[in-house]
Amino acid sequence: MLGLNGRDTTVFVIVTVLAIMAPFLLNPFPTESGLAQFNAGYPDLMQRFAIFAIFAIGFNILFGLTGYLSFGHAAFLGVGSYAAVWIFKLFTYNVVPAILFSVVIGAIFALAIGFISLRRSGIYFAILTLAFAQMSYALAYSVLSNPKFNLTNGETGLQVYPGDLQMFHNPERVPDLPHLFGLSMRANYELSVGGWDFNFNAGYYLCAAILLLMFYLSMRIFRSPFGMMLRAIKSNQTRMTYTGLNARPYALAAFVISGMYAGLAGGLMAAVDPLTGAERMQWTASGEVVLMTILGGAGTLIGPILGAGFIKYFENIFSKINDSVLHAWFAALPDGLEDFLVAIIYPFIGKGWHLTLGILFMLVVIFLPGGLVEGGQRIGRLFRSRKTRKGETDEATQSTPAE
């Protein structure tokens, strides 16, 4: 279907169903129940799932296929956001031009930075992209926000003000917020069934639709001759060169494509919430997308989506749990034990989420370089090998081309 083989079609259908049903699936607990804090089915978080999944899918096209580790992809996300907000400020609140423009700007930035950074590989490349991203951050934070030429509004962040030009915006006919041809991104339909409240949000469904499109594109890229060449770069550049292939434009193309994904993610962030700031470009933000991709499984199709969902979910849940919540959990235990458990867990939750993240990151890199997808495959293989002891050898030696 759609130029995908059977297995990929299945994966795509599953992802589609999950994306459409997300408001139900992420909201398994009744609103009034004590477990409601584990729900993730509210618009803001679901949008973040979709947006960061797009970001990570794009990053995976670069890192997962070519092996070039960029530490500066947040810069493209940041410029994408700025680009979109400027469209809102100058022209219209309609998200279509804003999102398109953010992709274009992402591509232009990626082309410029990639062109220079790709003169080098390995560590040099990682450091160069990092330096460029920090430079972009510094530019956005201070250089480009001076009275003479204020492009980013510095520390305050860029947003739409009442006096802005908004040439084609007519507040009488369309919402005074980002909208898709009149459908406000904040439009939300709440369905209450029993004790459950399900949210169907326009912004989320826009992000999800674009996520599906981007996921489909990445599948096509993975299975294409172009994708094969990108994997060849990761595998052996010497052989590639002496096979008559010019590796650099391939790597640059992958870099620009992933920059466009990042710009798109930035544009969508602005589309669901029309403001942006320089902190989106900081290198810790770049580190986060690296983490998502690796945690999920770099070089696999579904990995980045899993990684993005996993991290954004736990970030949200963990930061909500504070010590009083913990005490409530362990209230049934004897006092001494309760305090002890709370004291042990406390550094890792709430504001300590980043500590957990850092530890997780190290554990994954050390023990599970293939990420969650590899973990799943290992478990799957364990079950299968129990079922079929014989005839397994042949399959075991076969490589599994990128899932």
Partner: protein, 251 residues
């Protein structure tokens, strides 16, 4: 007719004359071996031929066109393929995918952005790759991860990848270095078969005299950066100058 002509090539590294006035011509559809003791300049010469090094003076013509100043991938696109001392293959790809890449490179050139095509629909390319694997007796390994194969199989695959491009000149850099005897003999047989069945010129740099004398129709002996003698294997075998260069005996 000479397919490769090296004329008056000189290359210095600081005070060291790595190549001095090298003249060499390789006849089309022959197997030409370049031998010489360590430090004779074999590797430097090879690196000049494939565009990795640019000589100080002289010219290198392939089929009448200069290769100097061209990038390695451009030289490959002209029709020169290279086999390395340690097999260079795409380690994390399957054997079949390894074989498809050179065919794509031959068909689409150094860069082509077919980001939305599906490799599985490239029936021609797959067909050619499978045919080549058939010829190499590797069809049963098509779905193996190439990194997990034996060194002999890797070598076989690498040679096959070069052949899949239909090169006019195949350069081999000590193709049997570090190989077990059985693998060496297999490689010799494969190369013999190639030179007989296909219209490919083979230039081989080799240490192992067994390999050289089983394959070569002409041999150039390099010593201290310059060609010492060039002749048929029979003549080379007893040549006093060659003995001198190798063994340090006085003639």
């Amino acid at each position: 007719m000479a397919i490769l002509e090296v004329k008056n090539v000189n290359k210095r590294f600081g005070g060291l004359q790595a190549l001095g006035d090298v003249n060499l011509s390789v006849e089309e559809n022959s197997v030409h071996a370049i031998i010489g003791p360590n430090g004779a300049g074999k590797s430097t010469l090879l690196n000049v031929l494939i565009g990795k090094l640019v000589p100080d003076t002289g010219s290198v013509l392939f089929d009448g066109q200069s290769v100097l100043g061209r990038k390695p991938y451009e030289i490959n696109q002209m029709g020169i393929s290279r086999v390395f001392q340690t097999p260079e293959i795409f380690g994390n790809l399957t054997v079949l995918e390894n074989m498809m890449i050179p065919i794509f490179a031959k068909r689409d050139g150094a860069f082509s952005m077919q980001a939305l095509g599906n490799t599985m629909n490239e029936k021609d390319v797959i067909g050619q790759a499978e045919q080549m694997l058939e010829d190499l007796n590797m069809a049963d390994k098509r779905n193996f991860n190439s990194a997990s194969m034996s060194r002999g199989d890797k070598r076989r695959l690498e040679i096959g990848m070069c052949l899949a491009q239909n090169p006019r000149l195949l350069l081999l850099d000590e193709p049997t270095a570090g190989m077990a005897r059985a693998d060496t003999n297999n490689t010799i047989d494969l190369l013999k078969q190639i030179s007989e069945e296909r219209e490919i010129t083979i230039a081989i740099i080799e240490h192992d005299m067994h390999v050289v004398f089983s394959l070569a129709q002409r041999i150039t002996v390099l010593a201290q950066g310059s060609p010492l003698v060039e002749d048929t294997p029979d003549k080379i075998k007893g040549h006093p100058k060659v003995r001198e260069a190798y063994l340090g005996e006085s003639a």
